[in-house]
């Protein structure tokens, strides 16, 4: 029988050591890579296509959750973190598992069994991961950065460099200093997680960074356009105009 390919992603050497020593006792598993940060993690997962990933959440560069946002077809994930900051129940309810550091061997074995079942049944964990990410989204405060992928490169966009965001089917296009990038999130998510003191939804399909506002022009009786400092022209809806006026008052 072919071995299950495992990748460990954790920024602490000692944490990786411990997990490796646990996992190496299971002959069904083969650890194919260990990564010390999210960038390496994304690359290793894309290139080596593991069946199972043990993923830390707080890491330099990008977090475990941000990593998942960048993977279109993620493998089975077992999270591990030191402290239950967010809706831990959401994790418990799911087939993929969630380990709290420090964890005993038995607990890791339980996680491995759950993961094995998931891998053998062949059903993707995408849906559950989405639930997890959503549970995480609900507990995050305001965003300071957005992680996107352009080609094979991972980019971290600080929110203050964003000019505006526009919805594009199921995605959101982020326009910023460095260009524009697609992100699989909803406008609703961004509206809720961008600082309302800086970002305003001026239209159903557009959120603008008010520090980039150059001019508001009126076209018809109830039609306005917003000009950004970069020269982009954005439509303002009636309710968007009200919000904007309130903001500028």
């Amino acid at each position: 029988m072919e071995k299950i390919k495992v990748i460990i992603v954790d920024d602490e050497q000692l944490a990786r050591d411990l997990l490796r020593s646990y996992l190496s006792r299971d002959p069904r598993l083969e650890i194919i890579a260990e990564c010390g940060n999210g960038f390496e993690g994304v690359l290793a997962i894309q290139e080596q296509k593991p069946d199972l990933v043990f993923l830390d959440i707080q890491m330099p560069k990008i977090t475990g959750f941000e990593m998942l946002e960048l993977l279109p077809d993620p493998p089975v994930i077992v999270f591990s973190t030191a402290y239950e900051e967010f809706a831990i129940r959401a994790f418990e309810a799911n087939a993929v598992d969630y380990l709290l550091k420090p964890y005993p061997l038995e607990r890791v074995q339980v996680a491995v069994e759950k993961a094995m079942k998931r891998i053998q049944s062949g059903t993707g964990s995408k849906e559950e991961l989405e639930q997890l990410t959503q549970a995480h989204d609900e507990t995050t405060g305001l965003l300071t950065r957005i992680v996107v992928k352009s080609g094979s490169k991972i980019r971290i966009i600080p929110v203050e460099t964003i000019d505006y965001l526009e919805s594009e089917d199921d995605f959101v296009m982020i326009y910023c200093k460095e260009g524009h990038f697609l992100k699989q999130k909803t406008m609703k998510f961004f509206e809720a997680h961008l600082d309302p003191k800086k970002f305003i939804r001026i239209h159903r399909s557009c959120i603008v960074n008010t520090t980039q506002l150059a001019e508001i022009q009126q076209y018809g009786k109830e039609s306005w356009m917003l000009l950004t400092k970069q020269g982009a022209k954005l439509k303002i809806s009636k309710s968007g105009y009200v919000a904007l006026k309130e903001f500028l008052a």
Partner: protein, 352 residues
Amino acid sequence: MEQRNPSNRFPLLANWVIPIILAILQTSYDRFIEILPWGISTVDGMVFGFLLGAFGLAIWFVVRYNSPDEKSFVMLFASHFAAATTLSFAWFYSASFVAKSIQSAPEYPLFLDKNTTSRIMLGFFFYFLLAAFFYLYIYYKSNREKLKREKVLQTQLREAVLRALKSQINPHFLFNSLNSIASLTMTNPEKAHEMVIALSDFMRYSLRKQHNELVTLEEEISHVRLYLQIEKIRFGNKMAFSFETDPECLACKIPTLLLQPLFENAVKYGVYEASETVEIRLRSFRQDDHVLLTVSNTYDPEAVPAKGEGIGLKNVKERLRLVYNSNNLMEIHDKEGRFEVRIFLPCPKTEN
């Protein structure tokens, strides 16, 4: 009444001042204006004056049980008017009765009859004067108590805030450290042993200290050293630290657990976010009657922290404000890839 509540002694004593003055005035008036003999003047003045004081005491109770906070103005006025009428008449007739039974001169009753109206008017006047005085007194007293209570509340609030601002043991730090220990027990038991001891000492210090306690800078520095040692075991080559302390400052007293949040901040935004080695530095030296502490760290300039500015630094600033009552004891400098927090701690030289 007076014994139960000694603070009420003052208005009751004051109550006698006006009757005594009145007694003297009345006696003088009777003697020199009305040209009555000394015998009549004295009895008239003293009896009316003394009984006025006695009735005045009753006014105190009327005032006490007719608080303007609880009754409408009309009700208040009605009850005072009724009390004033009752007391004035009672005063006049009881004083007349007593005075007439002491002083049997035939012209005295005639004199009293002539002065009935003015005496009762005087009773009314005295009643309202004293009532006003009592109300003022009660108002003044309750106001002073309110101020005192507010002061106590403010102190309590301050203490609560200080307690909250005092750095709490960060659960991330604790559980990650325990995880490192779990790992080390298998690979490097000696190092695990070392870490357990460092962690225990660190926790003991954090848990033991009272929130408002002052400790020496030396104690704080060795606590911070423990903290960094533990983090160093976790992060290995990803962090380096150095201490440069002027021995002259070490005995200075500073608020307990003031430094650790600064280092926690340096680790959180420096080490946690970087993939290269981050250097953390503490320097302390004396500047006149202050000690200047600088805690600095290098950081990855490209890293964008996942979470915004920490509340750790804000808390330290707020604590300094509360303890030293000054708003400019902390400065933040961020240039050339180095983040630096400067703290000026008041520490007179005589303390050394």
